[in-house]
Amino acid sequence: MQANRGKASAAAAAGSAAQPAPPPVRKGVFISLYREFPDITLPVRDFKDYAIARLKVLKDIERIYSLDATDLDASDDADMSNYGQMVRQREDKVMKSLYEHGLAVEDPNGPLSTERAKECDEHSHFTLRLAFCESSEKQNWFVSQEVHMLKAKLGSSSAVTANFLLREGIRYHSMEWNDIPDGLRLDIYDVSPGKKDQRFYQVPWEAAASLVARRKVVLRRGVAFVAEEDLKTIIANRYRQFLLAQLKCLQNSRHIVEVHNDPRFGSFVKNLKNIYLGPDPSAFSPEEQHVERLTPHNIDKVVPRSFPPCMRRLMEGLRSERHLKHWGRLQIWLFLKGAGMSMEEELSYFKQNMTLKATAFDKEHAYHIKHIYGKVGHMKSKPPYGCAKLMSGDAPPNPGPGDYHGCPFKHFDPGPLSQLMRRYNVPDGSTKKILDLVKGHHYQLGCVEYFRATHPDSAADGVGNHPNAFYTESCKYWGAKSGDGKVKKEEGGPADMDVDQEGASSSSAPAAAAAAASAAPAGGDTH
């Protein structure tokens, strides 16, 4: 299986003759690191249309990569090919979005010219830089979608990638598989058996940081040995660092103020950035969804009924130990805040439920809780963690001994997980399904299955993306069941900031700008 994969990609790299000779550049797609500003003047209308089009693509990208954007770092063979397939599928979807919104040309005989697509792609990139340079949070969001876009454009042909590197003037030493010294070759094989027979490039390890972080490359004296198929990652790293540096520059430049004050497009640019952020945690806050707010009075009833497993476990930990470690506290505090507990309630609840003298509590934890509610420190309320973040293993780190934080679907082995499911009264059939999903690294879908098992006949909307979405969805469900009137009918969804909602892609700039202006600013947790 692995050998096959190796051969297949080697053939692709050599430009197999079976297909109509894939050219080393991709027709109709503008691949660029955007190092130079295009020197053309544009009508304001185009300027705005282009920017909106790109923003839509970026929002699509965010959506495409958000579902199970968890650890795909699969290690056995079956998962490996699954993983490759998943990557390709996603990239295809991104390309579709690019075609749809006129940033690339799919059909050379169609109405859209390559020049126009290029103009749109190039211009919109620089416009959005203006809109997203403002804070590091926005910068990060923009950069990560842009990087996905670049990767999708490069596609799966390593010839396109290698050619792109050359065009950008980036040169690395490389070796054929058979020319690699024996000891080194053995190590490379151990790290990535699937990449056997490829050409390997010698790259300074810093340039391959993301591969290094996942131990996907062999290091020797500061040099990373990177397989041809991974060159794309190198370009992506470079692009990420370059773009981030550019945004930082822009952020600190005086010209940005001029841009924002420009009567023709200043307010348009300023508003663009407000429509970007992904699922806004406030969108499933209890007020927004008209469900019962969590309080210290109803919490005991609500925990087993409506808390997602991750939070239920934390509550159990709190009960049994009357203490939680740092990341556990943070995870549950943020969640409870998101579920509608007031700061005063949270303070008194934890004061009562932790074994600590009241004074010690005030000294150690009260400040922190207030911080979370934005009452001290930076004065900004901190959004609750989403599932992807809880699973990321990076702030919060993976749980260690004595920790209760994290996501059980991700952090438990099958044994303990099925015990947990049994304890939570999940029927055996569902548990089996959950274990299968988890085995395929679909942790969030495991959570959806759990929700379905514990909420028969429910749609499980939004579950698996955010623990607070799980919570409100569950409250809605039980509210409807008991018909206690707490749940009003949903009125066309929350005030969604999704640009797609205002219609076809040909929307005019002013309308879009107006939509942008009316959209709620989001302070979401993007990762």
Partner: protein, 477 residues
């Protein structure tokens, strides 16, 4: 460690509010009150002794030279080589102090900075800090943090690692929590050796400083110019690369090689563990994980492939039913069994699987356990070398990785012992410090770490300058 990060955040604002100006009024009563109120870990630590330590023994000049990276302040001597230096460099570095107030409260003051060695010395005298932390280098002087417009951001920082013995609690049989002994210190020996090899051989870093944290762990400072100036992404990649123990305690295996040969990074650790002076055999003898009746045997069984699992269980319940066995004997049994199987050619795959599982066990039990949050990003401050730990009175001395196995944390100089040495020697404060048992450590810091660091830094800068003139226009490194 997260606890301290948290309290750091909490005290930040308070600290700013309480921040004092060094105008020195009623210093004596303050010190006396503080000395009385401070938690005293026996007689080894005392604020008056600490004052003497800073005045006579603490190597301020070496520390400042180190932190300046050749951008020395005017009052530090240096050989000029015509490099361009940044005269404000030292002032861009954040220092912070933990100290006791007059009323005996422990406070934490952040955002301190100095323009000269002299002012650093004065600050030590004035604050008499129980702990000095070193932070990042910012884009402008730390005391102009809020004054100028534009963001105030960290730009450089040594890459640091923190290894704490409490993270080994599930594999330590001898001690728990804050306690350590020479047996469990062996984990630190292994950690130093493995980290040293990985940082040098894999990442090509050379200017490494290992320091005893004064109580139950070690710190490692990677000070190469390249390391200090790394962007965030590369910086974070190093601890990620090194933390191979990813499993949680709810998983049967904390390390998984998926039946294949161990990855290169594990091989390095396995090599280090071959040495009987500190390696796997010694660890097993010290910690007795797999002695008869130990709970770790169940954990070990979970790692093994079914065949070996069964065989070991048979050995325990039948062969050894009535006799005792040690960890070393058990391990030998596993190795013999696998060797025996390996002799039959068709068992090749099985043998590989078994060896892979046994390597997993070694790595899971003995590989360095990093607190990666300390290493990531620019925000974490770390205690300076040569501080005195207030609970133990021990000085945070450098450790030579080559001789890490000879290091005895219980035998390092303490505040009390050093001051006694000063008192008994015919020292004259004007003549500088007399000979004390701290000297070999300062000497090591100076000759084995600082001077190569300064030399290498110069070389790197020259190389970069040369490269820049050759390859103008490249946005790369």
């Amino acid at each position: 460690m997260d606890e301290s990060a948290e309290s750091r955040k909490r005290t930040h604002d308070e600290a700013n509010a309480k921040q004092e100006k060094p105008n020195g009024a009623n210093l004596r009563p303050a010190a006396a009150a503080a000395a009385a109120a401070a938690p005293s870990g026996g007689k080894e630590f005392d604020l008056d002794l600490l004052r003497i330590y800073y005045a006579l023994l603490f190597p301020s000049e070496d520390i400042i030279k180190w932190l300046c990276c050749r951008h020395d302040p005017p009052d530090v001597r240096r050989v000029t080589t015509g490099e361009k230096i940044d005269p404000h460099f030292l002032a861009k570095r954040e220092f912070s102090f933990t100290k006791y107030t007059d009323s005996g409260d422990e406070i934490y003051i952040r955002w301190q900075c100095y323009r000269k060695l002299e002012s650093f010395r004065n600050a030590l005298k004035f604050h008499n800090p129980v702990k000095i932390d070193i932070g990042a280098i910012y884009n402008r002087e730390v005391d102009r943090k809020d004054s100028a417009t534009g963001s105030f951001e960290p730009q450089q920082k040594e890459l640091v690692f923190d290894i704490d013995m409490t993270d080994y609690d599930d594999v330590r049989s001898c001690c728990r929590e804050a306690n350590i002994c020479l047996k469990c210190w062996n984990f630190m020996t292994v950690a130093v050796k493995v980290l040293d090899r990985l940082l040098r051989d894999d990442f090509d870093f050379h200017n490494l400083l290992f320091v005893y944290s004064g109580r139950r762990g070690i710190h490692c400072w990677v000070c190469d110019e390249r390391a200090r100036t790394m962007p965030r992404e590369s910086r974070d990649a190093v601890p990620d690369y090194i933390s191979i123990i990813t499993g949680t305690d709810k998983m049967a295996k904390r390390v998984n090689f998926y039946k294949r040969d161990p990855p290169p990074i594990a091989k390095v650790a396995l090599q280090v563990l071959e040495d009987d002076r500190w390696g796997w055999r010694k660890l097993m003898q010290q910690q007795k994980w797999f002695d008869k009746g130990s709970t770790h045997i169940d954990k070990l069984l979970q790692y093994l492939p079914t065949e070996l699992h069964k065989e070991l269980q048979r050995w325990i319940t039948e062969d050894k039913k009535y006799s005792r066995f040690t960890s070393v004997e058990l391990w030998q049994f596993l190795r013999d069994t696998v060797d025996k199987w390996g002799k039959v050619p068709r068992n090749e795959a099985l043998k590989r699987q078994c060896l892979s599982a046994m390597s997993e066990v070694k790595v899971a039990y003995a590989f360095p356990r990093l607190d990666i949050n300390v290493s990531k990003g620019f925000n974490h401050l770390l205690k300076a070398p040569f501080c005195v730990h207030p609970k133990t009175g021990r000085v945070c001395v450098p450790i030579d990785p080559e001789k890490a196995h000879l290091f005895d944390p219980t035998a390092v100089p303490t505040l009390r012992s050093l001051v006694d040495e000063v008192d008994s020697g015919e020292s004259d404060a004007k003549m500088g410090p007399s000979k004390t048992s701290l000297d070999p450590y300062v000497d090591f810091f100076r000759t084995q770490f600082l001077s190569p660091l300064l030399k290498d830094t110069l070389e790197t800068r020259m190389k970069i300058a040369r490269k820049k003139s050759e390859l103008t226009g490249d946005l790369s490194y």
